[in-house]
Symmetry: C2
Subunit: 461 residues, 2 copies
């Protein structure tokens, strides 16, 4: 088929109808004679065009019934749902590069601690204990809400923080991401609007795209969302949901102030906004900072969290704490989509490590180690003209601005060739305004090669 | 508020507008003065009605801006998506009753083997091995497609069956149900139509309802779907997806014949139908029976499976084998909704048991044990007037018709009081035509109490 030919014009006309949904998947195409007349071409040109489209699988012939728009050729590709940004730095970029990196890759862009910083001794002990447990724990499905011992332990922690819940209001999930996903399935419908911080954790964007919702963002300040723009966004876009990290915000490390928290909650009430507070970095705080959920209760705030950052990302488990009636409905939804709660073997391992006497000491040592690394890495980065936006109270992230005119995505692509995975700013930004920012994980920068390659990369730009 | 009062009329009018979506969630209600005029009542009556609706949380007041339809009060409840059947025997009934049963409950209605029938010795060995593995396996996220060793092992099995795939065409998931869920997210949109067997596994219905699709069903014969009604359903309802078990069909134990398989595939091609073949019971077959996926390849058939029935339901993992381009998109979707593949600790345990020399012998003994139990239970049930619809070639289910005029749901409710969980026919039936059928799990009927209670229950009816 020649470009610009009559046949190509007919092919293009049909493809436009399909992409604009004027022709739906499964729908019958116009008759050959009719469409020939519409397009002012001969019927044989239409036949040729339809044959071409059938050969490439876009449409298909049904014997004696004509041509139909194919279905199996156009399933849902989540990476195509949002605006087609530069594919190489879309919200999947860091996930795929860091999760599937070669074993010898260096990953200052990844979102987890090195394996030898994790509580592996307690985990090995937990595995030995599990090997001596009874058959049922090793082979049966667990209960629909997940293991009671772990739900009790979490509820006790929450009560200590001033959030009055029982274990019945805790639902365990197979991962923290699945906790958010389950809530999105429960609260959202395609076309709804969701508010996120700018910048925010890149996988919020990927996940929300999978729910086919509109994303709007509000700039983050060092003490939470910019409250005037937050209110404007509520008025203008009427989002039904806001997803945020209050403590040790990802990627910035910012901490929500009590004043901003109070105002966010008042606006949420007057605009009927539900909030997911993702509390995955809680254990890295030196002391507890304000939480929306402890200020408001569980009327319109949902807390989620997981153990992947502090305990193990290999044994995965997340949780949801929410209103009792929502937990009931979320449990049904989890039965439908996962047949039951998370793996009992996984929850038992996590319970076992959390209740091991050594875990508290391990976490204390880990927080001190991270404080030291944050300072050292900040100093070294600053000497390269890479400036932390703030010094976080805890955790392993430094959100930094690059020297003038350095494009973070270009730098990340260049270092990837040298087997170093970075996390360029725009993967975190719905507004795509973080071109010259970079998120660094201070725990993954002990190899001198990281700074060598970074320095070379910055000089080349 | 009195029933039939003017206020109640205004309340009803607003509720009707909300339920018909004439008033959308978040939308402003009519002004008090305007609606008073519309309804020909006084403004104070409308105020009273709005206050009542606000008090019960249906609407809410925004200071100075009027009343708005609430959002947080009406989230998505999956159990309400389908037609509201008798709630007590809906597709969630068996899941919730059997997963959350008391430890001493007897469960002839559940879908798994007793814990002491499972390969626990090999699992304990696997846990000991895991305790000696390196830190990375215990604490890091795995790769996005899941562990390569397990994908290689599965691909080799598939090649042995004649399905030519490499490990790149296998995606590991956190469970078999999540494998189906991920495919549904990929292929379906709300309002699409999906075809299932009648009867079919009850959780297919629960899962598909969560995707807000229309369900149509086709009667199952002893050798697969009734092929004439199958074709009629394709013509009449234009489903985009068909979900089935080819071997040891759940709940019937039926086996797809080569002739029916061939015709199903031809109809799928001419009607552009995608098929999910859920192969979760494969290891229970005495010898392999026909599979759609091995006859067709992976053009429009997707194979899914898991290890929950044969290896452990506590260490969960599922898999998808599909076209390479679909696996790529499904991997992105899994990153978005789960951040990465299944737990590496889980996949390592499963790989370890599968590749343990004792596993093959264990499965052989298990198949023989089940054959004996199927025969014995069938004989005892028959003596009670409970007749197996067919004698399955393998597995642990017997799909039985009850004596005339016995309602399976009533019987199940009665035995539940005596701590015995049964699986009444209609939970498996989209058409709700299986009122007098019951699924029995022969491995869960060794306690004489099961038959005593069953006999008493049947006599009472």
């Amino acid at each position: 088929m020649k470009q610009g030919s009559r046949t190509a014009l007919v092919v293009d006309a049909i493809l436009r109808k399909i992409s604009s949904r004027a022709l739906q998947p499964g729908e019958k195409l116009p008759s050959i004679r009719g469409f020939a007349s519409t397009m002012q071409v001969s019927p044989s040109t239409v036949v040729e065009a339809y044959d071409h489209l059938a050969a490439e699988g876009t449409i298909f012939a049904r014997r004696g019934a004509g041509f139909f728009v194919g279905r199996s050729t156009q399933p849902f590709a989540v990476s195509e749902v949002g605006p087609q940004l530069d594919r190489s730095v879309d919200p999947f970029w860091v996930s795929r590069q860091s999760l599937d990196a070669a074993p010898d890759a260096l990953k200052p862009g990844c979102g987890w601690l090195p394996a030898d910083w994790m509580p592996n001794t307690a985990m090995r002990q937990a595995l030995r204990n599990l090997g001596r447990s009874d058959d049922a724990l090793l082979s049966d499905y667990g209960s629909t809400q997940g293991a009671l011992n772990l739900r009790r332990l979490l509820a006790r922690q929450f009560i200590d923080e001033g959030l009055n819940v029982g274990p019945d209001q805790v639902l365990l999930t197979p991962s923290g991401t699945q906790a958010i996903d389950l809530i999105c399935r429960f609260l959202l419908r395609p076309g709804d609007t969701v508010l996120v911080d700018d910048p925010c954790y890149f996988n919020f964007q990927a996940l929300l795209r999978a729910h086919r919702v509109e994303l709007v963002c509000v700039p983050l300040t060092q003490s939470g969302p910019d409250i005037e723009l937050f209110e404007q966004a509520l008025i203008q876009h009427k989002p039904s949901l806001y997803i945020t990290n209050s403590a040790l915000h990802n990627p910035t490390g910012a901490t929500l102030s009590p004043q901003v928290a109070h105002r966010v909650l008042n606006l949420a009430t007057s605009h009927d906004l539900v909030i997911i507070e993702d509390d995955i970095f809680a254990a890295f705080e030196p002391s507890p900072s304000p939480r929306l959920v402890t200020m408001e209760g569980l009327d319109r705030v949902i807390r989620i969290g997981s153990f992947s950052k502090t305990l193990s990302a290999s044994v995965r488990c997340g949780y949801i704490t929410a209103r009792a009636d929502w937990i009931e409905a979320l449990t049904d939804l989890q039965v439908a989509t996962n047949f039951g709660g998370p793996s009992p073997v996984a929850t038992e391992l996590i319970y076992s490590v959390l209740s091991n006497g050594s875990y508290r000491k391990h976490m204390e040592a880990l927080r001190n180690r991270l404080t030291k690394h944050r300072r050292e890495v900040a100093t070294r980065l600053t000497s390269l003209g890479v400036t932390p936006w703030l010094m976080p109270r805890g955790g392993f992230y430094l959100w930094c601005s690059l020297p003038e005119q350095v494009n973070a995505a270009d730098l990340a692509k260049a270092t990837l060739v040298e087997n170093i995975v970075l996390a360029p700013g725009n993967v975190f930004s719905v507004s795509q305004s973080m071109t010259s920012f970079m998120r660094f994980n201070v725990s993954q920068m002990s190899d001198p090669k990281v700074f060598e390659v970074l320095e070379r990369g910055l000089e080349a730009r």
